[in-house]
Amino acid sequence: MTISPPPVAIRASRKVAELAPKVLKRSLWRDAVRRFRRNRLAMLGFVLLLCLLGMAIFAELLAPYDYGRVFLTLRSNTLPFVNPAHPLGLDGSSRDYLSRLIFGARTSMLVGLMVPLISFAIGVPLGALAGYVGGRFDFVVMRVVEVATAIPPLLFALFLLSIVGNGVWNVIAVLAVTAWIEPTRLTRAQFITYREQDFVLAARSLGAQPWRIIFVHILRNTISPLIVSFTFAVPLAIFAEAGLSFLGIGITEPTASWGKMVGSGIGNSIRVYYHIALFPTIMVALTMLSFSFVGDGLQEALDPQRPDSR
C-alpha cells in the first residue's frame, strides 16, 4: 500500500490548523486593545491619565516644595509668573501653588480610585449573588437598594460627612456608602440575563459548582460592562470629592484638594487673584476629561458585538 498524498479536503484542513494559532490569538482582549489604540481621543485620555497618576504617585519628587510649607516672608496670594521660585504663585496662606496642585492630584486620584474600588468590592458580589440566587436574598437586596436610591446621594454624603467628620478617608468611606448601588444593580442585571443562557445551563449540566458558574462563567462575561462602569465611576467620585471640599467640608486644611482650592479662590478677590481658582479648575477638568475619554474608548473597544469596521 502506497501512501498517497492526503485528499484536498484534509490538506485544506491542515492549512486551517496551521493558521489556527494566529486566529486564536485574536482574543477579546487583544481586539479590545487594538481598537482602543486606534481611538485617538481615548489614547489622548489614557496618556493624560498616566501623567496624572504619575503626578499623584511621585508628588514628593515632582513638587518643588512641601504642600504645607508656608513662605512667611512672601506676600500671600502672589500672582503666578512673577516670582521664578514659585512659577504658579502662592495661595492665600503663602504656600507654593504648583506644589499644592501636584499634591492635589494625589487626593483626587486616591478618592477617585478608592471609592469605585470599595463600592465595586461591595456591589459586585452583592449584585452577583442577588442576580444568581434570586428569591428572598434578591428581594432583600433590592429593597435595600430601593431605600438607598430614595435618598439624594449628594445630600446624604453631606449629611454623613457631618456625622463622621472630615478627612480624606472619611470622604472615601462616605462616598463609597452612596456609590455601591450602581455596581450592585449593574451586576445583578447582568447575572439575571446570563443566568438562564445556554452556556450556563451547559456548565450546570456538566456538574459545575455554583461558585464556578458565578466566577468563571458569568462574571467573565460581565467583566467588560463592569470595567466601563468603573472608569465612569472614577470621575464621579472625583467630582463628588471636589464638590464637597468646595463647599468647605471633606478634606481638612493642610491637605491639598483641587475642589477646596477652587472654593477658596472664588469670591470678589477672583478678579485679581484669578490663579487660585483657575489652576485647580483646569486640573479637575483635565482629570474628568481624561477619564471620560478613556471610558468612552473602553466602551467602544470592549463591545464584541460591535462590527469591527475600522
Partner: protein
Amino acid sequence: MTRYILRRLVSLFFVMLVVSMIVFVLMNNIPGGPFSLGERGYTPDALANLERKYGLDKPLGERYLNFLVGAVQLDFGNSFAVAGNPPVTQVILRTWPVTLHVGLYTILVSFTLGITMGIISAYRRNSFIDNAVTFTATLGITLPNFIIATFLLLLFGYQNGWGAPNKWIIPPLWEGGPAILSQDYFLPVITYALAPLALVARYTRSSVSDALGADYVRTARAKGLSDRMVMMRHVLRNALIPMVTVLLPQIPNILTGSLFIEVVFGIPGLGKFFVTSIFSRDYPMIMGLVVLVAFFWGIMYLITDILYTLIDPRIRLGGGAGR
C-alpha cells in the same frame, strides 16, 4: 394599572419609613446637638431648659414617634435655627419655589436646546455642527457645575453684583416678560442647564441616528415620503422611546436643585438651605427636607414609569424579574 400604582405607593411608604428612620437615628448621633454648637456657651441649666423646650430630652424612640405622627399630617415641627422658629413646612414652601423656578427654566432650556442640537448633529454627522455639539456635550458632562458657575461669575457676574448673597429676590414666574431674562436667573440657569443639555444632546443624537439607520426609515424614503414626513412620522417618534427612558429621570433631580449652584450663586433655595441646616444641626429642617425630597423623587419616578407604558405599549409594568 391601578393595582400596580397602589403597590408602588405602598412600597414607597415603606421606603420613606426606613429612610426617615435611618436619617433620624444618624442625625441624633451627630456630635454636638443644635444648642451646644459654637461659642454660644449656654450654662448647663439653660441648655437643659432649651432641650426640654424643643423636646430633645425625651428618648429617641418617643421623639421618632412624635415625628412620624407629625409627618403624616405634613407637620415637621418648628425649625431650630431659622430666625423666629417658623414651621419647617413654611420654610420649605418659601424656599422650594425658588429652586423650582430655576429648575423649570433649566429643563426648558436644556431639553429644547439639547433635542434640537441632537437632531441636527444626527442629521449632519461628522460635520462641523456635529463636532461642535459633541464638544459641548463632553464639556458639559465633564466640567463640574460649580466650576462653570465660578467662571461664569468671574466673566460676567461680579461686575453687576450677581451672585452676591442678599441680592436674590424671588420674582414671580412671569412679570413683564419671562423671569429668565432677569439677571438673577440667567447665569444659574445656563450653568445648571449645561450638564442635562449635554446628556440630552448626546442621547438624542444617538437615538435619532439609530432610527435613521433603521429599515422602516429606508422604506419610508423609498416610498417617496418627504424628508419632513420621514422625520416627524418615523424618525422622531421612534427615537423618542430611548430618549424618554434616559431623560425623564433627570427631571426630579433638576427640580430639587443643585447644592453647588445654589451655594455659588447665593440662591435662597432648597439645596442651600439643606447645607445650612446640616451645619446648624437643625433637626426638624433636616428631617423635613430629606423626607420631602425623597418623597418627591419617589412620586416622580412612579410617574416616569407610568409614562413609559403610555409612550411604548410594549413595556409592561409590574411582574417580570425586574430591570
